[in-house]
Symmetry: C2
Subunit: 262 residues, 2 copies
């Protein structure tokens, strides 16, 4: 591999950062995590704006020592695309067929464009709760019923539909791959598609008790199984979770991850 640029991940708790940590670990890259704390707020802290004009994590900075100079990447799907293109030289996580390439690009867009909106709606609905000074107390008292209403007419039906859709896709993959025990969303290996879906499907959907009736392994056996072998049980994912834990436990100090030094 040609000389690696200096890689810095500007990390923020409870965001899509786990996806990028996981990716960097799968690629075996060295990197520095500069962590930020939400300090109880829904919104990202002002300090992140010094690294990118939108101030939202994950922000991945690459310092090349050639004419490329410094490159700052944002948007998870785009980061996955870029990093695989430049650092997965053996095509371990890149599809090898034309159809596979198209399929991976689809899933990168599907993750944010379709799967994420109901999750985002639910996230803000439980966090942007009106203050009593702006709305009468009676409104606030009924707010929980309103949340239930939105879950019933929008969040739950959509997430149920998407999880059954993913289950169906995995079933088709199983048939295509001669009944293989472990199947992935594109071709026959973990690709950028799984790395992108890992956040929505594994972390947000399966990781949230609110959606337990949707993620019941009896309803979506292949997806429930995929969440384990393709995400939670991957050593690179486990290391990402450990890194996040040590950031929070260690009081949000800068962390250097050296994949080759240990």
């Amino acid at each position: 591999m040609p000389s690696q640029p200096e890689i810095t991940l500007y990390w923020l708790e409870s965001t899509r950062c786990i996806r990028i940590l996981w990716l960097l670990n799968e690629l075996g890259l060295d990197y520095t995590i500069v962590p930020y704390d939400k300090k109880g707020s829904v919104m990202a802290p002002k300090e992140l704006y010094q690294h990118h004009p939108l101030g939202k994590a994950p922000i991945l900075e690459l310092k090349y020592d050639d004419e490329r100079g410094n490159i700052t990447l944002v948007e998870s799907g785009h980061i996955i695309n870029y990093m695989l293109k430049w650092f997965d030289l053996e095509k371990k996580f890149i599809p090898v067929t034309e159809e596979g390439e198209r399929s991976m690009d689809y899933f990168l867009h599907f993750a944010e464009g379709t799967m994420q909106p109901p999750l985002t709606y639910q996230f803000y609905l439980t966090r942007l709760i009106p203050e009593s000074k702006q709305l009468p107390e009676s409104f606030r008292e009924n707010y929980a019923k309103y949340q239930e209403y939105i879950d019933e007419v929008y969040t739950f039906p959509k997430l149920e539909e998407y999880s059954l859709y993913l289950e169906k896709l995995l079933r088709e993959q199983k048939e295509k791959n001669g009944g293989a025990e472990k199947v992935y969303f594109v071709e026959d290996k973990l690709t950028g598609a799984d790395l992108a879906l890992g956040f929505e499907a594994a972390t947000s959907l399966f990781g949230n008790p609110l959606y337990r009736h949707i993620t019941d392994p009896k309803r979506v056996p292949l997806l429930a199984s995929w969440v384990k072998y393709a995400v939670f049980d991957r050593p690179a994912y486990k290391e990402a979770v450990e890194a996040e834990k040590s950031i929070v436990d260690g009081g949000f100090k800068v962390l250097k991850i050296d994949q080759h030094g240990h």
Copy 2:
């Protein structure tokens, strides 16, 4: 150009379909529009499920007469990517530099991943209004105040931030391009980035009176100007708007667009 596949756009009113119609017109392709009517509902009609398992428009179907067979594309960003790759052989809308390519991929993800969420939140907030049988009348009476609260703490600040960000990017493009009168988001021509942003920035943001204070040309002069020359005034965009109008006025009949026949 090699023989074109048969192209069918499954179209639904008030969706991102205008983006794909515009794209097909820019590429000078012939296509058939099979339109669907929401019939007053927020959700897409069941009939769309026969064309794709998620039943959401835009759905673009390509029938090749070679080994590729039928390809069904969904997710706007992915559709733009695919169509430019295979049908923009002269690279009229594709960046020519490495940096430009990276930048276009970023904007394709930014459009749905960052710009769209507050617009989607606002869209559902004004459409998923609880029924009186599920929540007390007093809650419904105060719902408008709640909408104002969400606008104040989330929708407006985010959309303001994003429009100022886009303005800043256009200013940088202007400087890079020697003060050119017309600038675009990537390199010096209309690319997939503008085609992707056209929906959020032009249709959803500038097209909605609710956001008039955010889209004031005094605040975002370059963006307001871009919305005109890069979107609304493009002949290909105007033809897309006309096609949509004739679908609705004509009672949702199938429409064949023959770019070479007239």
